[in-house]
Amino acid sequence: MSLPVSIPRTVLSPKPTDGSPVYKSVAVVGPPNAGKTTLFNRLTGLRQKVGNFPGVTVEHHTGSFRLDSGEEVSLIDLPGVYSLNPKSEDEKVTIDVLNGEMPGAERPDAIILVLDSNNLNRHLVLAGRVIALGLPTLVLLNMADELHKQGGQVDVLPLARQLGTPVALVSAVTGEGLHAVANFLVATPQIPEPLELPIFGDPRHCREWAVRMGSQASYRRGATPEWTRRLDSIFLHRLWGGLIFVVVIVAVFQTIFSLGQPASDILQKLLDGFAVHLSNWLPAGLINSLVVNGVWKGAGSVLVFLPQILLLFLVIGILEDSGYLARAAVISDKVMAKVGLNGKSFIPLLSAYGCAVPAIMATRTIENKRDRIATILIAPFMTCSARLPVYTMVIAAFIPDRPVLGPVVGTRAVAMLSLYVLGFAMAVATAKALKSSVLRSRDVAFVMELPPYRWPRWKSLGLRLMDRANAFIFRAGTVILAVSIVLWGLTYLPMHNGQPPQIADSAISKIGHFIEPAILPLGFNWRIGVGLLSSFAAREVIIATMGTLHGVDPVSHAMALQDALKSDLSPAGAIALLVFFAFAMQCMSTMAVVQRETNSWKWPILQFLYMTTVAYVAAFVAYRVTLLYWN
């Protein structure tokens, strides 16, 4: 099944070695879990940026590698692939870029192929396919440190002769052997044509070819580290495995809630404090209001998410790099399968109870695109922390505290719990509906490779945190900022004699009056309408807006605000408002992040329409039903 391959001789002829690069742009290719990203980070360091090709959700990194001569070669880190069949989006992107068919990306001059030296029998199959593309290729057998530690070995010279490309045994973690990259980039060594490459053929033949290549290179795989098996016999134990899982999850969220929320609060205080100084420093008027209430507040609403995003990604990064995340997915899979999802959705969905924004960013660990979209679509139904102040205020104002189950569990606690259950139930129903229709997995939902346990590396964790923070601030943040400025314009314009209008005269309250007929069936008046509109900036903003509308400071006069609310809402309207908040996607940050993660406006808009419709219908039903029993 092997076909002869002709590789252009020109690219194999020696080039003058004056230290300047032979290639201008080089693609880094390799299977998942071969240490490709670690290698890319090692070569480019902080000189990298992240991007999306038009129309695809797959992300890629570009960076530059500096040679001794000071000249730079641009490197592009392509999605991890097992083969070059354009079956998945990842594979299609990689193939299109390598063939120069990806709009917005030049065809690379050469390829650095990263394989795991501990898995050559599988990974060499990919080498055959990649070399057959005809681009000059450097094959790096990565994780040499692990191979040697576990008693394995491989001779690179016979392998290079067989493949017709330079081959080097390297370790991206320790840096061992990486001078091969610079050597490759400044001078292509003279290497005869490959003896034989499998291009197409059934997997059995390809694997036989790979094993033959390996044996000619005296390849011996290292033994699986004994402690990986020992750890698995605990972490995947029928009884202890589940218990440890629960402990890990509780610890993760305890960390995020006990550190992340206070950090966000402190940051918010600092930002507010600075806003006061800024406002005093700037001359009063339009500019002052725009800068303080529009731009600064908008920027602040981006920044307050950072502590939680960084913490969640730090913890998930540790779990992922250590190998535990794959085990956690195995353990939680049985529960997630009941709603048509798989174990990889568990942690993102759980973190949505804190905030949907980092949760949606955390769905990157889900490789299956359909499962990932489904998880993104249901995450905002989970009761996030921004809903809590709203729930607390409305429940305190309208629901009398009576004991239900003994003195501890009262009506208010039951109301709060019901709202959590409501959001969860709608998430489950939506997931089931999606997974049995538009997002049904054509592929099999759950095939999970369990990598050996490894110590996480601080450097790669740090780079990933920076990457996530950048992606959030500069991509999602710009949308959030823009919406904040629009909301500012609606609230503070038109100005009269340099003074902002009374909120009742502002554009937003005109819209509030305008939409009043639409929300009247839910038992809401125009003030609640203005509150709903303003809560699009962030859910809890409705409290401040209601305070402004009634001229009451919501912090110092919480009771007064609760009384004032009773003039806007009947008890039935209050129940409808709670239900509306449980379902509606009133959060521009979530929308911005969904747009960013799916690289399209289709999903956030569909999600917004769906959640708003559900919220509207459910609030209407809640209002009508409550009217029958409680008025």
Binding site: K87, N121, F200, P203, R204, R238, K334, R442, V444, V447
Partner: protein
């Protein structure tokens, strides 16, 4: 390339005919799901969409290789299999679509 495509077509046509006539002849007698924890077998065939089968083969599930049921998740689903030096977790529904030839213990020990 071409004859491979043809073979797939003939196979799938045959499968349709057999299914239609309700002939169980193509049903494998042993699947991966039948192996108990700690038992091993030789991978034989996949009865699943081509994409899924190829993905499994990329992960080391190549016909002819030995596979071992290494661990069992909570409630016996999913289970973890050891094949070609790696461990992969599969659900029961998928492991039922993978035909294996069970190895007797002595045979397994010799390998």
């Amino acid at each position: 390339m071409e004859d491979e495509a043809n073979r797939v077509t003939i196979n799938s046509v045959l499968k349709l005919v057999f299914n239609f006539m309700k002939i169980p002849s193509l049903k494998p007698s042993h699947t991966l799901s039948d192996l108990a924890l700690g038992e091993s077998g030789i991978l034989e065939d996949f009865d699943m969409p081509q994409t899924t089968a190829e993905h499994l083969m990329n992960l080391g599930f190549v016909p002819g290789l030995e596979i071992l049921v290494a661990r069992s998740g909570p409630g016996g689903n999913p289970r973890v299999y050891r094949v070609d030096g790696t461990e992969v977790a599969l659900r029961r529904d998928l492991s039922r679509c993978i035909a294996v030839r069970p190895l007797r213990n002595a045979e397994a020990e010799m390998r």
